[in-house]
Amino acid sequence: MLAALLALGGLGAATGGALALAARRLPPDADGLVRRIDAQLPQTQCAQCGYPGCRPYAEAIAAGEAPINRCPPGGERLVTTLAALLDRPALPVAGAAPAPAQVAVIDPERCIGCALCLPACPVDAIVGAHRYLHAVLPAVCTGCELCLSPCPVDCITLQPAAAPAGSPTADVLPARPSATGGG
């Protein structure tokens, strides 16, 4: 009980410190700005932007420390939105083109239960424990690929995410010929 109270106190102190720090580094209203930027980011938490997640990248953008084109999953659409939001010029996206939705899959034949992938996952999508078979929760995985490199036996692969229930494909053919279509 007491230990828990102490821990809570410690947490309060830690967050308080972090907030104080943030307040010092960022202009006034920065928190609102960070939140507005973060709301646009894809939340893949893949760290491809060079920051350890979307929120840290949003903070760096708000502080004027990072360009707005560093998020490959967000792609062009995100750059356009951020450019409008921040009144900055739109830049071409740095890095890979956005990939279609994918999820990590652990090969149950090869997983040795080392638990090395557990701390790598930014959204706690992997369940498992030492020397027990691990599995990825497909509904939660963002496909960020961060769990791939820690695995010592390379048993994690990324596979296309299953199409969600009841979704038609985006390109439904017109039921008759059009000027561009064949026939």
Binding site: L2, L6, A7, G10, L11, A13, A14, T15, D38, L41, P42, Q43, T44, Q45, G53, C54, R55, I112, G113, C114, A115, L116, P122, V123, D124, A125, H130, R131, V140, T142, P164, A165, G166, S167, P168, T169, A170, D171, V172, L173, P174, A175, R176, P177, S178, A179, T180, G183
Partner: protein
């Protein structure tokens, strides 16, 4: 004799279209000989794919359940005939050219044999089973809406029963040109359809029922009037609808029957109404009175591109090619393969794809069968599309919004109120495939909504993890702080530390004692950790 009431109500927009189905309005239902192979997609319903219950190589009986619904938006699947499961694999499906999905592939034990034609004797027993029990039996038989979306009938009845509906409408409008399968069932099996509708009415707990049939289906109206007279049921009425497309669309049907226009976003259940399709009622009758699962359905195979148009009773999972071959094959005019009617159907790229529970029509279109063909030109703002839209939308404005693909503008133009009736595209003098644009826009908006929901979830989980890591770090720091030498310890901490030290010492002693008892050659308790 039962009176056939003309409805006094109308709906906005709409159009009277040439039917193109005279020949099929007198022809009998033909029974398809069993194909060699049936391909049953696991996803035929709005919900998640059904879960297969059989293994490759397994023998299945006719009517045996082969896949189970994982949620209430999906229905169970049953084997249409005695067969061997030969594969569980991805196959091309009806939809976009690249539409694919997991399918159970069955090799029929007796290909070429004829299933039973629709039963002649509809029975006459009392229909007084409790509603919940009827719904269970509908679910067990995999009965789903045959009008297109294949919504499970048991779920629809269950949802409706919660709001104590006043009316069940049996939808016999079949307003789209070329399509004639519901009418064929009404003409040849009106009594069975009526009993099925009564089962569905009880399942939903609706107090009364209306059978609504378009005025151009005289034989169907007469057959239903006779069937109704034979039962003597007074809680059912028979209504004649004006011949005006889309009279059979759910909202328009409700307005025609009750005069009530459901506002945007208002569900039929909220107005105390539940609608079922004629084919669904027939399947409900088969499920409850013949103990047969929904493994077959009547499909209209028609158009100038097929030699001998017909209404065909076919097993679910029949490839389109088999149906077309049964109807004499393609003619030289065959131009485009459409599943569904000419206004609402989707073009498919090849005929290897199987029919599902919701497939009511296969239109092998000759050029003349296509709705409003011609090269697409720019919108001339003639307003013809506005005049026909039954949902009171501004289709040309909606088109601009769909092309720009902006969520706000699409919402302002009420994209999701569009019922995809296809009339705007049908009348457009510039031959713009408007409804194709709307379908695409809906899919894109839904995709973005899903992405936003996934992002919100990822954000919440990421933040929760950050909090957890911070808490763990703080705890560690506090522990380190407590251990630091030279810091005057609070009395309670001293006590705690002493307790802990004593506990550790006791554990060590126990371990030592255990080690001494054990023979020297015993294997170690634990293997070394993997890392």
């Amino acid at each position: 004799m039962v009176e056939i009431e003309p409805t006094p109500h109308r709906f906005p927009g709409g159009l009277t279209l040439p039917g193109h189905k005279a020949a099929l309005q007198t022809a009998p239902i033909e029974v398809l000989p069993l194909p060699d192979e049936l391909v049953l997609p696991l996803r035929q319903h709005p919900g998640a794919p059904a879960l297969p219950l059989v293994a490759v190589g397994q023998r299945v009986e006719a009517g045996e359940r082969i896949a189970a619904a994982p949620d209430p938006l999906t229905a169970d699947l049953h084997a249409p005939a005695e067969a061997t499961v030969v594969a569980l694999e991805r196959r091309a499906l009806i939809g976009a050219p690249d539409a694919q999905g997991q399918c159970l592939v069955l090799a029929c034990a007796a290909p070429g044999s004829r299933g039973e034609p629709p039963a002649a004797d509809p029975g006459a027993g009392a229909i007084d089973t409790p509603a919940a029990q009827i719904r269970r039996r509908l679910a067990a038989a995999g009965v789903a809406g045959q009008g297109g979306a294949a919504f499970p009938a048991a779920t629809k009845a269950g949802v409706a029963s919660a709001s104590q509906p006043r009316l069940l409408i049996l939808n016999g409008a079949e307003c789209e040109p070329y399509v004639a399968c519901d009418e064929a069932l009404l003409r040849t099996g009106a009594a069975a359809v009526l009993r099925g509708a009564e089962w569905l009415r009880r399942a939903a707990g609706a107090t009364a029922g209306v059978i609504a049939i378009e005025a151009d289906k005289a034989a169907a109206l007469a057959a239903m009037a006779a069937a109704l007279a034979a039962t003597g049921w007074t809680h059912w009425r028979l209504q004649r609808l004006p011949v005006r497309y889309p009279a059979g669309a759910e909202r328009q049907l409700i307005q025609l029957v009750t005069g009530e226009e459901l506002g945007a976003g208002r569900l039929p259940a909220e107005a105390g109404i539940v609608c079922h399709n004629v084919g669904t009622a027939y399947a409900a009758w088969q499920a409850l009175e013949q103990d047969r699962a929904m493994t077959h359905r009547v499909v209209t195979v028609t158009g100038g591109g097929v030699a001998r148009p017909a209404n065909v009773l076919a097993p679910i999972g029949t490839p389109l090619a088999t149906l077309i071959e049964f109807c004499g094959g393609y003619t030289a005019l065959a131009h485009r393969l459409i599943v569904g009617g000419p206004l609402t159907g989707v073009a498919v790229a090849d005929d290897a794809r199987p029919i599902t529970k919701g497939t009511h029509c296969v239109l092998v279109a000759a050029p003349a069968d296509l709705s409003n063909p011609g090269p697409e030109r720019a919108c001339i703002r003639c307003g013809d599309c506005v005049a026909v839209c039954p949902a009171r939308l501004l289709p040309q404005q909606l088109l601009q919004a769909a092309r720009r693909d902006e969520d706000d503008e699409l919402a302002r133009q009420r994209l999701f109120d569009c019922i995809e009736c296809g009339l705007c595209a049908h009348v457009c003098p510039s031959h713009i495939p408007l409804v194709a644009h709307y379908r695409r826009a809906k899919a894109l908006v839904r995709g973005r909504q899903r992405d936003a929901a996934a992002a919100a979830q990822a954000k919440a989980r990421y933040e929760a993890r950050e909090r957890r890591l911070a808490a763990e770090a703080a705890e560690l720091a506090a522990a380190r702080e407590a251990r630091r030498p030279g810091r005057p310890a609070a009395p309670s901490e001293v006590g705690q530390a002493q307790d802990r030290r004593a506990a550790i010492q006791a554990a060590l002693d126990r371990a030592r004692a255990r080690a001494q008892q054990k023979p020297a050659d015993a294997p170690p308790d634990e293997e070394p950790p993997a890392s």
